[in-house]
């Protein structure tokens, strides 16, 4: 018997007696359908609500952000060009896959936000429902927001919504999963692609969500997720000239003005949330307030088309 084999035999009884060493996950960025580390080689330690160390998350850089914008731009034509029904099905598919991983998300949300198991479960369940709610909007938007305009001349004239383009989403800081889903789903349902800055202090559920996205028919580049420090990344996102709109919900209060100043440089559409502590206290479980067609409309352009009527 070769020595190696004997070693294994010798080791086995001892291993069975000790507790199994868990395989830890590396939390990475999600860009263009891939999971790169930050090009900067940086990471930061993420702690749970109880102060315990949970994991290292990638500390995204300006370059990571630019790569993410580029892949979002590249994905726009394809995603925007899908039929509304198709986009709706893709969003629904995200809900389907989330449903199968409820336990995992419940554990991560509980650890990140310091919630009880039941409260965390409610956050996860509602996140799933929110995808479903927005999925249903995909093929109804133009019927609710569009118009046929009775112009005072022999013209057919109609107005319908189109996606704005690439949207930067600064996700809510406090609500690591439900808040993020509530801001991202209304952006992508209409055909926008996005670059999301996940919660700075609670980024892990968002990274796990990206693993769901990659397996749920969301084309690579439609949703790109960057983790890292907001104070470092938000100004670059706000100033990027190939970003058409920015959701500033999670922007630190003292950066809001400079973000809006930078955003106007290329006429970014700016969506604002409540400010400061109000933003952190926002009740994402309240369906009446936390899921709105206006949040879809905030990232739409209205296009009006004229054509003569005649023989």
């Amino acid at each position: 018997m070769p020595p190696g084999r004997r070693d294994v035999i010798n080791v086995e009884p001892a291993a069975a007696a000790s507790p199994r060493i868990a395989v830890r996950k590396t939390y990475k960025l999600y860009v263009g359908g891939q999971f790169p580390r930050s090009e900067s080689g940086r990471s930061y330690l993420v702690r749970g609500a109880d102060g315990s160390a949970l994991a290292h998350a990638a500390r995204g850089s300006r370059k990571d952000l630019r790569d993410a914008v580029r892949s979002a731009r590249g994905a726009f034509a394809g995603w925007d060009g899908k039929t509304a029904m198709n986009r709706g099905q893709v969003l629904y598919r995200v809900a389907e896959l989330l449903e199968g991983r409820r336990d995992q998300f419940q554990a991560e949300v509980a650890a990140a936000e310091g919630l009880t198991a039941a409260a965390a479960r409610e956050q996860v369940d509602r996140s799933i429902d929110r995808w479903v709610w927005y999925a249903g909007w995909a093929d109804k938007l133009s019927q609710v927001l569009g118009t046929v305009n009775p112009v005072a001349a022999p013209y057919f004239d109609c107005t319908f919504p189109e996606a704005t383009g690439v949207v930067g989403v600064v996700a809510p800081e406090a609500s690591s999963l439900l808040g993020l889903v509530s801001r991202v789903a209304p952006v992508v349902v209409s055909g926008n692609t996005c670059v999301v800055l996940a919660s700075g202090g609670r980024p892990l559920p968002a990274v796990t969500l990206s693993e769901v996205l990659v397996t749920s028919d969301v084309p690579g580049g439609v949703i790109n997720l960057i983790t890292g420090q907001r104070r470092e990344l938000v100004p670059w996102l706000a100033a990027h000239l190939d970003v058409n709109a920015i959701d500033t919900w999670g922007v630190p209060v003292d950066l809001q003005t400079s973000v809006e100043e930078a955003a106007i440089e290329n006429l970014k559409r700016v969506s604002r949330g409540p400010r400061g502590a109000d933003a952190d206290r926002f009740d994402w479980l309240d369906d009446r307030r936390a899921q709105r067609p206006e949040w879809i409309a905030a990232f739409l352009e209205m296009k009006t088309v004229w054509h003569p009527i005649g023989m």
Binding site: N149, A263, R289, E301, T304, W306
Partner: protein, 659 residues
């Protein structure tokens, strides 16, 4: 515009927008207008020339040599016998083989000069009119008439960049002649308008002298003569106006039921209709745009906006089902000089319908129609402070939008100023809508209805002297018809009447202000310097006033400044494309995204282009149409928010997003 002129021959002049009424140009458009039929009877000589031309532009040849399929007798029917067509002169064929009148600009290559020769359109015999031809086709025949004896003598001004280049050689003009026709002056009467020597600020329902104690003069761009003195507001006046607006919002307007607000707006619409000619005259004098445009477009549309939004005032819960719309408060509104009254209406009508009060600042070079509107507010017994109007320079506008008691800012104007406003109010939480610049592409495919396309392209860029944010300033024409199309465009340009805005026959009036004129002339010079080929008709310009000739540039590169920057003047850049993809690529290749035009008879292509063009307004087989029910506004750096339609209401309401 061509149709307008023809109609005017029979006594009723029409503006570009009124051409949209039933029986207008587009309504009577034939379903297919291939090249063979668009141009009249084709006598043998012309056919020969067409065949010649076919050698250089292949795809044109078949259509040109194709027959028309009408009985010879019909072809020869004298135009004068057709109803609605008044013959202006003896029909005559164009003179073939005339020397090319195109002036080569300095720096153009020998190759481009050669191109001109091959580029000339096949000679077209005007011939007599056919039964059932469209207005524009009839007009085309009119254009080809031999000049009357003693026609207008032209003396092109030498101080303008790019003197008039040439008249179409088909006109066979005598020496010194610019156009074949004589037009008798048709001046609009000024009697209807009595201007005050001075206009104060309109604050709290009263005309008040500015606390600044300063005044400025507003000039007539066509004569450079003063029209009236206008108050130059200072910071104290801004304070007073915002205070008046806030008080009115708290006490009167904000509490008034929608049905009562509606009736005030209906009143305003009615008074504007009743005083329409007075407003048209005031607007033309102050702005320099042709009277037929103010009379047929600006003023009726302004009244229509008040009419449309009046009806919304008590129906807001139906406009936004499931929401409880509330007014925002005090709206600060800044409008430009290109459509002073119309922009005022676009701003004030939805703001008041939603229950806001407003402080409006008109452009400093066009304050008069706003001051007349103040009088309309008084006549309508609008509660004091609901509408406040302050006049003055740009700094006053900035003081207004940054005032802490302003809740909503709406601005129409240049992209640079729009960005400055955005920066100034960043972080304040004020609602903002911006309607900024544009560099619209007008895309003409080879299967387009060419007569209509020519008219649409001309209307697209020369309407309001091109001082239109959504002007079709870039013509993208498919390569296979580019030469023909450009040649016909030049012909058409030569028939535009440039001059006294108060003359009812004028197509292109005065540029609003000398700074704008200088900018236009500068960019024309840039176009020449960058190697584009200039064409300007040899029309006579008045000796006084701020005028510029309708200008067309060919051989324009995509990166040229005249293809990228908003000129805001009557300057058209012609570019070409081969495939739809290339057209879309070029059309979308600017930071702007306000409007675009598509000309083709193929429905599926229109819809595909409509989908892929990144612009807020797409005109298909038409251009520059506006209506209060139709939302207007830009993509990208042309701004955000919409004006017009129910979407325009949204810009003045809080639907609960304020948390």
């Amino acid at each position: 515009m061509l149709s307008r002129r023809v109609v005017s021959a029979s006594g009723t002049t029409q503006g570009p927008l009124s051409a949209a009424v039933p029986g207008g140009l587009n309504a009577t458009r034939p379903s297919v207008a291939p090249l063979a039929t668009m141009n009249r009877s084709t006598p043998p000589a012309a056919v020969t020339r067409a065949s010649d031309a076919a050698g250089s532009s292949g795809s044109v040849s078949q259509t040109w040599s194709g027959g028309i399929g009408l009985p010879a007798q019909a072809l020869r029917r004298p135009a004068a016998q057709l109803p609605g067509f008044r013959d202006r002169g003896r029909p005559d064929a164009r003179t073939p083989g005339r020397p090319d009148a195109q002036r080569r600009i300095p720096g153009s290559s020998a190759a481009s000069a050669r191109r001109h020769v091959t580029q000339r359109s096949p000679a077209v015999s005007p011939g007599p009119c056919q039964p059932g031809c469209t207005l524009s086709r009839m007009a085309e025949r009119t254009r080809a008439k031999r000049p009357a004896a003693g026609a207008l003598t032209t003396r092109p001004r030498s101080d303008t960049v790019g003197r008039g280049t040439a008249s179409p050689s088909s006109w066979a003009l005598g020496e010194g002649q610019a156009t074949p026709w004589e037009y008798a002056p048709a001046p609009e009467s000024r009697d209807v308008l009595t201007l005050q020597a001075r206009y104060g600020l309109f604050i709290g329902g009263k005309e008040v002298a500015p606390r600044s104690g300063q005044w400025f003069t507003t000039l007539d761009p066509a004569t450079e003569e003063p029209l009236a003195e206008v108050a130059k507001a200072g910071p104290e006046d801004v304070e007073q106006a915002v205070t008046a607006a806030r008080r009115a919002f708290r006490r009167d307007w904000g509490r008034l039921p929608g049905r009562e607000r509606a009736k005030y707006l209906f009143r305003i619409a009615r008074i504007l209709q009743e005083r329409s000619r007075e407003f048209a005259v005031a607007e033309t004098l102050d702005n320099g745009k042709p009277i037929k445009e103010t009379r047929d477009v600006d003023v009726p549309l302004a009244a229509a906006h008040f009419w449309y939004y009046a009806g919304w005032a008590d129906k807001l819960e139906y406009a936004f089902p499931g929401r409880s719309p509330r007014p925002l408060g005090v709206a600060a509104q800044i409008i430009p000089w290109n459509f002073p009254l119309l922009m005022l209406a676009w701003k004030i009508a939805p703001a008041l319908a939603a229950g806001n009060t407003v402080v409006l600042k008109p452009a400093s070079s066009t304050p008069l129609s706003a001051m007349l509107f103040a009088d309309v507010c008084r006549q309508a017994d609008l509660p004091p402070g609901v509408v406040n109007i302050i006049t003055g320079p740009g700094e006053i506008g900035m003081a207004l939008v940054t005032h802490p008691d302003v809740d909503k800012v709406a601005f129409t104007g240049s992209t640079a100023v729009g960005k400055a406003i955005g920066r100034a109010i960043a972080g304040t939480g004020k609602a903002l809508t911006l309607e900024l610049g544009g560099k619209a592409a007008n895309i003409v495919f080879d299967d387009a209805p060419l007569d209509q396309a020519i008219e649409g392209v001309v209307n697209g860029i020369f309407f309001n002297q091109g001082e239109v944010c959504c002007a079709g300033s870039r013509l993208l024409v498919q390569e296979s018809i580019a030469d023909l199309f450009t040649e016909r465009l030049k012909d058409r340009l030569s028939t535009l009447r440039v001059g006294d805005p108060m003359d009812k026959n004028t197509d292109v009036g005065a540029i609003n202000n000398p700074a704008q004129l200088a900018k236009i002339n500068e960019l024309i010079q840039v176009g020449v310097d960058e190697g584009a080929e200039l064409y300007q008709p040899a029309c006579e310009l008045p000796s006084r006033g701020w005028f510029v000739r309708p200008t067309l540039f060919t051989n324009v590169s995509q990166s040229s400044r005249i293809a990228q920057e908003e000129i805001f003047g009557p300057v058209l850049s012609v570019l070409t494309f081969r495939t739809p993809d290339e057209a879309i690529e070029k059309a979308n290749n600017t930071p702007y995204g306000l409007s675009a035009g598509v000309w083709t008879e193929k429905g599926s292509r229109i819809l595909m282009m409509t989908k892929r063009l990144r612009a807020g307004v797409i005109w298909a087989n038409t251009f520059n149409r506006f209506d209060p029910t139709s939302p207007f506004g830009g993509y990208k750096e042309s701004g955000f928010g919409r004006e017009g339609g129910v979407h325009g209401m949204h810009a003045y309401l809080d639907l609960g997003e304020g948390f």
